[in-house]
Amino acid sequence: MRSFQSGNTAAGLLVLILIFLVLIALIVVFSQQILSSLANPSLPANAVVYLVVVLFPLILLGVILYQLVRLARDRANRRPGSRLKSRLLAFFVFVALMSSIPQALLSVNFIGSTVNFWLRAGIGEALRGGLSLSLDYYHGLAENLGRFNESPLVPVILEDLGRNPERLWKNVQTANSQIHFVQVFDGQGRELLFRGRREGRLLVPPELPPGGYLPKEDRGGLSILRHGAEHLLDGRRYTLVVGTVLAPGFDGKAAALTQSLEAFGQLNRYNRLFRLGLIVFYFLFSLPIFLLGILISFLLAGEIIQPIASLEDATHRVAEGDFSTRILTRSGDELAALANSFNRMVAELAHSRSKLVQAEKISAWQEIAQRLAHEIKNPLTPIKLAAQRILKKYTSEPGDFRKVLEPAVAAIVREVDSLNAMLGQFREFARLPMPKPERVRIREVAEEAAAMYSALSGKVTIDCSRVASESTVLADRAQLKQMFANLMKNAIQAMPDGGAITVASALVTMEGRGFCRIWVRDTGQGIAEQIRDMVFKPYFTTKKEGTGLGLTIVERIVFDHAGSIRFESQNGVGTTFIIDLPA
């Protein structure tokens, strides 16, 4: 019993769906991180991203291409289910594109709109305004320090330097509340006074730049602004440093503002490129999912098509006579019911066919028995007459007995020989064994058969040169030789005045299967139209000494080799026997 199974791709399908889900989860969870760090080639995590973005689609493309090539090959070989699978696959891809294209267009539009929104929503103005305010505040503080330090009030305040430092500091604070500390150095760089917030204290006297504004100092998370100026008091040179400590976090916030403005500036500058980059990334990440979807479509199409392909294949096998074909299915759907119905139908067909074959056999043997009886009866009459004539002469005219004896005995012997030959042919036909196939070169066998009849052929020529020397079939060598021999003998007998026998061959394809077609052509008188249906019937012959089994044996040999035989004949032109044997 031949069986087919469906549903063996379920595990592969499950694995692919699992990969599909994992890929989606990875993209959802890590997309932000990937976008942030992808441009930095030194990050090892990016190797994984490149693997997913570049290598994975390539692998998927390779697998899909392999599947497509297989499908194309199956279609070329007319494998059951291949056409339906192609159509199903095209349908799945069409559905996938139908759902992906609008989604892609929407995403592309969404990306563009979002980027444009951020560029147009006044965020740039807000950032620039924020930075401008910060700068105004910062510069305002710095200028305030400079204005104070260079004001004519300072020398007056400094008069308290030696006498009352506390009053000096109090006066500074009263004069400018935004000054958080004050420090005085003498001409030798020694510190004479420090009052106010200790974060502002310098350990060495500063080198005063033009304008007196010292570089901003970051200390302990605080930013410190200073202004230094030299003052002459009682002929002595003093350096007065005043400063202010910026609000905690000012620097960090200012840096964040600067960075945001920088990012905004870049976005503004490379707006189109960035949108293009996002779109390219969208497609790079969508492509593996789309390809995975197509691969799943392949498996799904295969899963759906499997029972139908099995059914088609089984139908072909049944048509070829293999009634042991059965379809096994694990599913419980309508296709399983169809498979069960098919199995029942084939079982009933096999049963009916068995009965029919038995009946045909009985009928055939009955016909053969009748014909055989008829053929045996024919020579019995002359034998009986010859025997009766011998007896009559012997009893009535013993003198002339010798005259009758010899021709009568000769007639009896001839008829017995004829009977013997007929029974020999019958035995040969009945005992024709099952073929033992081997790879046989047709031309060799045809030439061997032709050689057997070269002495008998007389004026008939036999040409086997039109059989390709490399042309082979899977056949029983002896039976094939007998087939050629019988056809050639038949042709020779059909051309008593001479003629030509031509044997040719070619490879042909019928219903997707390869056959070797053999032509055996003679230039005889052809077969009369009224007897063409009888040509292969046992014991049918038009020849005086024919047994009527030659072409029957040929037909039997061809059928036993799963081949077919037919002939074309034209009166006065000749007959061509056409034999198709599986290549």
Binding site: Q32, L35, S36, S37, L38, A39, N40, L131, S134, L135, Y138, P215, K216, A254, T258, Q259, L261, E262, A263, G265, Q266, L267, R269, Y270, L273, F274, L276, G277, L278, V280, F281
Partner: protein, 148 residues
């Protein structure tokens, strides 16, 4: 042994333009110290002794009104003059590469190149550098022997 490099390219002007727009510029110096192989081993190529990458960034500090140059995570200096800032940004001065006090003459040589990015893109905008490599310019490798 200290290495000094100076990157000169007409596109240095793009750096100043970017800095004035409030953007950050980046330059990466790649230094390789090779030891020449003796005899037949020369066919196998010279041996890479040490390789260093030095990353410098420049930006304009609007608060200070000065150009700030940083190397890796350390501030190199702040400059009021754009020309001075550009010189400091595009050069590497006496960078310690390796200790070769006992090296023989002609035994070692240095290969160096620079990669200038006038506008250092911030994430995630930096993805465009994958599609637009012309945002950065690389010099060819230059080789030089060690002074005696």
């Amino acid at each position: 042994m200290g290495v000094s490099l100076d990157y000169r390219d007409p596109r240095r002007g793009e750096v100043l333009k970017a800095l004035e727009e409030g953007l950050t510029a980046e330059i990466q110096f790649q230094l390789r110290l090779y030891r020449r192989q003796p005899g037949l081993l020369r066919f196998l190529g010279d041996r890479l002794v040490v390789e260093r990458r030095v990353l410098q960034t420049a930006r304009f500090d609007s608060f200070e009104g000065r150009y700030r140059i940083r190397r890796q995570d350390r501030e190199l200096g702040a400059y009021s003059e754009p020309g001075e800032a550009l010189e400091a940004f595009c050069s590497l001065s006496d960078f310690p590469l390796a200790d070769l006090s006992e090296a023989g003459p002609g035994q070692y040589y240095i290969a160096a190149r620079a990669r200038l990015t006038p506008v250092k893109m911030v994430a995630p905008l930096n993805i465009i550098t994958l599609f637009l490599p012309r945002l950065a310019f690389s010099s060819p490798w230059l080789e030089g022997g060690l002074p005696p």
